[in-house]
Amino acid sequence: MSFNSIDFLLFFPFVLLVYWFLPRRTQNLFLLGASYFFLCYIHLWFGALIFLVTAVNYGCSIAITRWPEKKKSFLVLALLICLGVLAYFKYASFFLENIIALLNNFGIPFSQPVLAIMLPVGISFYTFQAIAYTIDVYRGDTQPCYDMIDFALFISFFPQLVAGPIERSRVLMPQIRSSRHVSPEQFQQGLLLLIWGLFKKLVIADNTGLIAFKVFSLTDPSFFLLWSGVFAFGIQILADFWSYTDMARGSALLLGFKLSRNFDHPYFARSPADFWRRWHMTLSYWLRDYIYIPLGGSHVDSSFRRGANIMITFLLSGLWHGASWNFILWGAYHGVLVLLNRVGEKLFSPIRILLPNQLHFPLLMFKILGTFILINIGWLLFRETEIQSLWHYFQLTPWSATAQDNQIARYLFSLTFLYSLPVFLHGLLYFWDKNRRGSRNNYAKDLLLLRPILAACLLLGVLILRSPESATFIYFQF
């Protein structure tokens, strides 16, 4: 069930109404039932898979505490099952395809079997959440949950089930265990998040998505036309994923839960490393805590090892996004960007101190713009799945484009820019607001004034600007 579907519009108010009239204990049971219904509504079989992941991690986490001497074995068992499920459903076809291609290259004839594996929705998200929990129990960072209903709800909580945020047990579990309250202000905030998410999806992501779709449908886009499509895709993917997170956070807030933020205006990032602190934050922190730091992180002696740790983390991040070479390339590209960024920081930090104050702002703008361009180059790798086409695209030059294509590109750039304006304005307002928040006492009152106006404007915007064709959330496929 998708947040922007009519089914959710019927499902969620019903859940909300019943939920708030139930006692706390029954609330969790009811939410669990609603979460399984939410997932099984897509396919009954998906419920069985998430139950398997839940049961394995529940059992292993308790076993880790009960038999500490064998805790490593239980951790390995949980990891093997979770990663095995993920590997089978997400990567089996990809690996098999590549192994067979390799064998054929070496002259060993091998025909490819037809694998019809359906990718279960949200598998990458809930397996990572379950893995993080079991590792935390193993490390002693968190206590295991003995209540099966609470734990099952932690894994399958429907607002964040399909596309995150990937929650840690220390954030979500205490909220599941305690009784929930929602103030009118929180209710208002939750509604606003839902409406803002809906606006970003239906107006920004779907409209810019159409532009990207058309450009990437062409056999021969010229330089500027291609990059207008990439720009449109960059806006689409941001608005699409961010909208899901906002709707997840909004609906969770209406149920009395506070979920983690997943985005912090990533297109205002000042460097590639800063981008990853703002984009899909819960995945970035997951990769940092469970891959990068265990590999040694930056606390290793050799610079080669430090670089290798970064590259491994980003390659895995790319692979997490999809079983395709373009995603791996995308991960590698970001790894290289972060490495170069580190080198650049070291080289230029002494010079920056010498710069006069007047140049700090232009420098900041330059950094933001430069990062934005670099990120968009990455989106081309992300969007185009055919390596041959990618090769062709990177060979395009601005001077080979026709005047007609350039004009069309200008139009598409402008159209994308107009649709993306609310996202950029939101970013500017956010930073402006962040700066002045400390100096104002009546901030909460201001919000009470602003939220209803914003909600009403956004609703109106959804009604009159929404795209007639709405695509599935991009991150559903991961």
Partner: protein
């Protein structure tokens, strides 16, 4: 003002539910302000639109009242590859009627046109490239403001329409002047009541929602618990119900008109198709070539297999005539893409005209199932939020703004309007299916609506299409069917080559039709159809030449 401000400050500092009071007041403010915004920016007429298109003529000398442009390129709203000639125009104006009386309105159009006053359809002309039609309608209007809504659906070629009126007691033609068309005085209570009446289309349900919404706004005064929050949120959700613009109801069924015409003419051959048929066959000329036999074409521009099925079932069959043959024109694999071109707003209107009531098979195939509770709820929501119907206009304005921005970028020395129109044409050409620049697997006609099975797997898809039902209906009525596949535009080198998949598809289709006593003629590869024979896209330049070719090629089937 100071006292109000103090009150608001006090309200906002109250704890919990009291804060909602302020929330509610602001919503109310928004509700009061929005009708004006909508009137000014969406409904109220614009002055000269400076486009090479469409005017509403309020009698001679022609006086232009802004029509809200035309649509030849609408990203998302319409598929990019549509024929650029496929246009529609809409206009709104709020007219302050000077005195009570009976007014005569005259609608003249070459194409389809509709005139509605205060949401009630007054005059409707149905025309697909027919000679210019005229209709006079009298209506009784009271003194005060009335909302006029005029729609033109121009299929292709030259079009346009005019609306004239006669005003009592002078009973002579009079132009509407700028002074007549004005946004009402916002200070007057009467104005607000009128706006509410106009916007609500006189529906009792609107009053109910307005009352409900007001109750939601007032409830926070007395309640502090969660019920308040739930009701307020419902209030926000229902708020757009206050902005109901006038909507024209279901399009009138044109069946009776067509049946009458078919019964009068008693054609020997009936042709069904879209612009492919229209650009190829000249009914009168083919009749001459056939030695005085009668030919009648039912053309629905932009229609694909779903529209052909509806035309066959609701326009042709009920006429109960016995032509020698019925020819259905199609392209490629469109008969197994039943959902293609069934959802955009223009085609929806066409579907309404073709059917007296929703067709069960159409619903089942296009929506994948019979109407469920979800569909019914969705319809109700649309009824509550008809402002959503204004989305075409608003989205076009965004597109226009982007065109202006693009045409004023550096290195462009043309005027803004000129530049804008140039870009529009270029975009149309670049993303036109005829340009042949789409990657394999991308079919602009089928858009993204037809996913799943292989689109060229004829036997795998045919049972979910309209073809079996067309054949079944033809068999029941003993009608001989001939399917004509038109040749698509050749490439620059003059080549027309079907992919192996499409060749297999055509082979299977031919076999299937033969099994069901229907014939198929495929024009693909005809040496007399070089690139020079084509106008735009797959349309043919010379209708008469093609008619001759058709006569020569399909002569056996025309006996």
């Amino acid at each position: 003002m100071g006292q109000i401000s103090n009150l608001l400050t006090k309200c906002s500092t109250w704890k919990t539910g009291r804060g909602c009071l302020l929330f509610s007041v602001l919503l109310l403010f928004f509700c009061l302000l929005s009708p004006e915004l909508i009137l000014r920016h969406i409904i109220s007429p614009r002055a000269d639109f400076s486009r090479n298109g469409w005017w509403m003529h309020f009698y001679e000398p022609s006086h232009s009242v802004g029509v809200e442009g035309y649509e030849s390129f609408l990203l998302g709203g319409e598929p990019l590859a549509l024929n650029p000639d496929f246009k529609k125009a809409r206009g709104y104006l709020l007219w302050d009627v000077p005195v009570d009386g009976n007014y005569c309105f005259k609608l003249v159009a070459k194409e389809d046109a509709v005139l509605a006053i205060d949401g009630k359809q007054l005059a409707c002309l149905i025309g697909n490239h027919l000679p210019i039609q005229r209709i006079d309608k009298w209506v009784s209007l009271t003194k005060g403001q009335h909302l006029f809504q005029i729609r033109l659906h121009n299929n292709s070629g030259n079009g346009g329409f005019s609306v004239g009126m006669m005003i009592p007691p002078m009973m002579h033609n009079r132009l509407l002047t700028g002074a007549d068309i004005a946004v009402p005085v916002l200070g007057s209570l009467d104005t607000w009541w009128r706006i509410l009446e106009i916007l609500h289309d006189g529906r009792a349900i609107s009053l109910f929602f307005t009352t409900f919404f007001s109750l939601c706004l007032l409830l926070p005064l007395t309640l502090e618990n969660r019920t308040t929050s739930v009701l307020i949120s419902l209030g926000i959700a229902l708020m757009p119900a206050l902005f109901l613009p006038v909507t024209i109801k279901r399009e009138p069924y044109i069946g009776e008109m067509v049946h009458q015409e078919l019964q009068e003419r008693k054609p020997d051959f009936v042709f069904i198709g879209n612009s492919m048929l229209w650009s190829r066959i000249d009914d009168a000329y083919l009749g001459q070539l056939l030695g005085g036999k009668k030919v009648y074409s039912i053309v629905n521009f932009g229609g694909l297999s779903a529209i052909h099925y509806l035309s066959f079932k609701y326009l042709f069959l009920p006429a109960d005539i016995n032509p020698k043959k019925v020819f259905i024109f199609f392209r490629r694999n469109q008969f197994v893409l039943p959902r293609a071109r069934t959802t955009d707003s223009l085609v929806k209107k066409t579907i309404e005209r073709l059917t007296p009531a929703p067709d069960p098979l159409f619903e089942q195939i296009v929506h994948g199932h019979s109407r469920s509770v979800t569909d019914i709820v969705y319809d109700k929501l649309l009824f509550l939020f008809p402002i959503a119907m204004a989305q075409d206009e608003v989205r076009r304005k965004v597109s226009d703004l982007a065109l202006i921005l693009a045409s004023t970028w550096p290195q462009n020395n043309k005027s803004i309007n000129e530049g804008r129109d140039t870009i529009l044409t270029q975009v149309n050409n670049r993303f036109s299916y005829a340009s042949g620049s789409f990657r394999s697997g991308v079919d602009s006609e089928s858009s993204q609506q037809e996913t799943g099975k292989n689109p060229y797997d004829f036997y795998g898809r045919v049972e979910d299409s309209f073809l079996p039902e067309i054949l079944k209906l033809a068999k029941e009525k003993n009608i001989a069917l001939v399917f004509i596949r038109v040749q698509e535009r050749p490439t620059e080198s003059g080549v027309v080559q079907d992919s192996p998949e499409l060749q297999q598809y055509m082979h299977d289709m031919r076999q299937y039709l033969a099994d069901h006593n229907a014939a198929l003629y495929d024009f693909t590869g005809d040496p007399e159809l070089p690139l020079s024979a084509y106008h735009d896209g797959d349309h043919i330049k010379d209708q008469r030449r093609y008619t001759e070719l058709f006569y020569r090629r399909v002569g056996d089937l025309l006996q």
